[in-house]
Subunit: 362 residues, 4 copies
């Protein structure tokens, strides 16, 4: 039998449940879980903040495993045949149809209505479709990315889903060499964005966030300035950013906070004719006032909402990590490891921001 963690419903205690060993369809892959991330989205799931979740589910949408069995043959995104024993990750988003208007005409695959997400929108009754278990069942068509041997799997999970999310956002931001990049938020997405800004040749990286432990991490990973949101009100923050940017504001700003009021503030912290990418408004945090004339039109500002990741983001995240993981302290983002039986504690530690990042290691 295979053990996995079940989230029965919002605000209900997690449970351990046993599943039978699944039969593999042609093209399916069974992974023995090496580790799975506990991230802010799992807290949202537990708080019931996401719509359309078919509880009970097995949480865990970013995971690494060792190929335990293959249903006939399967290949990774590079087209290389998979082998038993290989260490891989996979894109949690599964089932984008490739036929609908969004997939084919708009080329906006993250808007495909058919997409399902491992660990989020696939119910436990359909099987081992989340990472917090001893094994994960990859249906035929799941996009699998092999981890290169030089990349420790713990480091991949430490970067976690924050890295492809940040990679998507920073790509949209079109950072030019020497730009000042401002990151709002110092959680996993913000911290990875602050690293990636340096891997776009930013001339200066500023992080606004908190608490102190996260700002320390921001400085350690290379931020040129870290502004404590608890120690400076909006006017003071704006003053500091202006002082660091010759009075102009940031060339590029990345929002990764989850706080609605951060968005109009970010518009004001960005220079005229700059770019502002909003990636952190993952759940509905309510309405907020802004001034279309001052904050947008007169500033000639470019504001880009950034939603979801696709295979390319995960694939590229793996390449970037493999190449630069010894240069930046992604591995230190993990401050806690938990067995399957400790999943509840992991979730609560993340919810309370007692850790930057937690891993479930079965």
């Amino acid at each position: 039998m295979i053990k996995a963690v079940i989230m029965p419903g919002p605000n209900q205690p997690l449970e351990l449940r046993e599943f039978g060993v699944p039969e593999l369809e042609p093209g399916a892959v069974l992974l023995q879980t090496l580790g799975s991330e506990v991230c802010g989205t799992d807290v949202h799931l537990w708080h019931g903040q996401l719509a359309g979740v078919p509880y009970p589910i097995i949480p865990g949408h970013v995971s690494v495993g060792r190929v335990a069995a293959i249903g006939g043959a399967a290949a990774d995104v590079d087209g290389r045949p998979l082998e038993v024993g290989q260490v891989v990750t996979f894109l949690d988003v599964y089932g984008s149809c490739g036929r609908c208007w969004y997939c084919t005409v708009a080329h906006a695959t993250t808007r495909c209505p058919q997409r399902k997400v491992y660990g989020i929108t696939l119910p436990a009754e359909e099987g081992l479709l989340g990472g917090w278990g001893e094994y994960i069942y990859l249906r035929p068509g799941v996009h699998i990315v092999a981890l290169p041997p030089e990349l420790p799997w713990e480091t991949f999970l430490a970067a976690g889903c924050g890295l492809p999310t940040a990679l998507h956002a920073v790509s949209l931001a079109e950072v030019a060499f020497g730009d000042t990049v401002l990151v709002q938020g110092s959680g996993p997405v913000g911290l990875s964005a602050a690293i990636l800004a340096q891997l776009r040749g930013a001339g200066r990286v500023i992080v606004i966030g908190g608490p102190a432990v996260r700002l320390d991490m921001a400085r350690r990973l290379g931020a040129d300035a870290a502004i404590d949101i608890g120690a400076a009100d909006e006017a003071a923050r704006r003053e500091q950013v202006r002082a660091l940017t010759g009075g102009r504001g940031a060339d590029v700003t990345i929002e990764a906070t989850g706080v609605a009021a951060a968005v109009p503030e970010g518009m004001r912290l960005t220079r005229d004719a700059g770019r502002y990418v909003v990636v952190g408004q993952y759940t509905n945090a309510g309405v907020v006032p802004f001034n279309p004339h001052l904050d947008l039109n007169q500033k000639h500002l470019d504001v880009r909402g950034c939603w979801g990741s696709d295979v390319g983001h995960v694939y590229r995240a793996v390449q970037v990590l493999a190449r630069y993981h010894s240069q930046f302290p992604w591995a230190q983002f993990v401050s806690g490891r938990y067995g399957l039986g400790q999943a509840q504690a992991a979730l609560e530690d993340v919810a309370a921001q007692r850790v930057v990042k937690a891993l479930i290691v079965p």
Copy 2:
């Protein structure tokens, strides 16, 4: 002596004043005014809604004239030497430095702090620096664009400053062939945007605006649907746009209203992963609430503030008009012509929307 209209200050009656014939510096050009536009900006000027205006001024920022005298030699943007008798227009924006950070590093010339604008930010005490006079003094360095012989100057003024403004906005919108383009607003900018959308190969053009006379014009210039803002509330407008777009919303939306509430509405009227260009918030119309999660982030929406025009926009507007002016009814945008002595009436007719567009013809 040369007669010109003076706007002494906000909400004060216009006056006629006489100026001496100016001496020409090397490179300067004296234009005999053929006509000058009265546009919404002039109403804003009269209402004192723009900051930094050095009243008294000679209004008139989009004008056409015949070259009356040249200070030595001058050339148009194409590098062709100007000749006396030639019919030309010019970019109202003058004096962008070409040396500041915005001009040289950001390539955002509309943000150059040195820029001055004929008819807006140049005082009457410095001379004939606005279009509502018998002559206009073009300082050395003013960007001059020759009107091709096949383009009637009245048609150029009928399109007026709305056309380069719309051209800038529609260019930023990156319309793809077959896209549904929604235009919010049926004033001169909105109507030109509805034409230009067709000159980007839009598959469907929808205009939301009013009053009826402007919606009729929208239909005549090719809009596939014209929604009367007076006859449908936001929910009804949204319903109509959804019905016209297979439930998705517009691929591209251009805001040209001046009403702050139009901006969050426009976000909602645009499809997920679409583009929204905000060009109509030229004056401060206050704050408005929006929901960063629903209206921006989850929609993966691209929102672009569009401010000001540069030489290229005016040059391209002239090329487009010369090529397509017999295909679209730009010439019909003008519903009133006024002598210098009737400038006050022209201003009031535009302010009251009794005309779509008025011309001062000295």
Copy 3:
């Protein structure tokens, strides 16, 4: 029994063959052919100029049909359920995997190694997989686009595969309003490109091509100048283009000739810092000399190879045709209609350029 034309192999006479009525898999669709295009690619096929063709094949890659039967249920690209009796077209490219590196990371679906093409790379032994027959079998997953009622199917076929090809090329060309667009070639791709340039707001459209009948068509569809390639050598052509463009060359050039020497010539006909899209080099026409310093580097030229079409190009082509087909003479591109028994004559008439475009109408 169902009749269809067979191309047994390169340079062999076409044959009529009879097929049984196929059984429909779930999701498959049987089309009763209304018409199918004969285009230059079919001539290439007949001359054996394309690699990897599994002769014998049923030619015909752009076709329109009436839905005769549906295997359960199927939907068009817009997600609307198909109904028997409906008139539709479909993307000839079929089977792009959506999983390989090109599909998912590079977002270059035209490079997917799994793609097959109706009428080109699917063998007759697998069934009615080409358009020159009484019926066409659409396998599950074929991308179907419904023709709107206002668009005559003959007009869609008259534009044919040249239109999505040109649409792809002109989209890549990033035409700015008022640009001078030069089209090299006056076949179906070139003529559609000359129309689409106007639907990007080009200020001037120049076509270089021949023979006279095609140049007449170019003028009729709106080209501002049509240069006869038979009456002007390269130097003379260059002189004419320079004269039309203030000495600078075209802002944007689209190559649609199939002649290798046209490519370096096109580089020279394009202005410095312009864009050049090469779409007509569909078959290997050999090597040609060029000067990387003069033709590319010093010109700061952007040269873009354009290969293949995807669903979006066909979908957008349908929208554009539906909206603008009465404004431009696409319908007149067809100069010959042929029954299934006349397919050989159709092929030879196209090969000899005796017609611009031929249709097979079973």
Copy 4:
């Protein structure tokens, strides 16, 4: 009196000449030269390979100096007033008009016909308009960029004009995170490109070049693979690149060789639907054959010629160097320093590739 090096004409020995101390026009700046680069362009100048050079000239187009005197007031690109004693560099390109069609409509300032270049197209008879002298006269309007205190001026010169050139090229290349970037050429432009590729988050950097000393430098600065052009013919090079890229070729290739045959080779080394930037064809190296079907069209390749630098490239180069100069060995690019009297030797050492980079230090 002020001493400066004169290049009297092609292939003539350099000379030392004395100039009087110039009077400063308003806005002009006199720099006391700290150092000036000897680069490949100076060798081209000496060999008479550039057209339109008004010999005799004072060579030296990338230089650093200390502000010795200011004609009234002058400011740097950031708008900060200059002060005597400050260490600055400046853009060699001077006099772009800001009014011609290329400057204003095409936004292609490197094509402005008015541009002059310090050290290249300004004659010695007009004064100290090149860097190989004790002082440099900066005319009003020269774009000045202050060096930040943390950036040693020798390091700026070590990167030299290769850095803004490479920065322009790599910016045009639109490197995506994780891309494999191939650099053809291991001179100063190629080596800086190999660094900048890492500052775009490249997943793998490959350099093809020689001789061994430069390939060692390539490896030291982070290249993942360095292929010796002397030890592998085109087929072998292609094989190695394919082996390193899963058989696909490089996602992005930067050409920095000066050898015409490198260009079609680079097309073949780049993957389908990749990007290829050609920056190294600075002088006319003759024609070369290529196959438009195989090398361009069928590959769906994007090829971009890259010519010249503007202020933004130099400004951004300074920001990048200031931020990352301790991370990458730019400072080690300099292998020789020469006094004014040794300029001839410097030129010959660079011509013979006995040094990577030489500096004139008066």
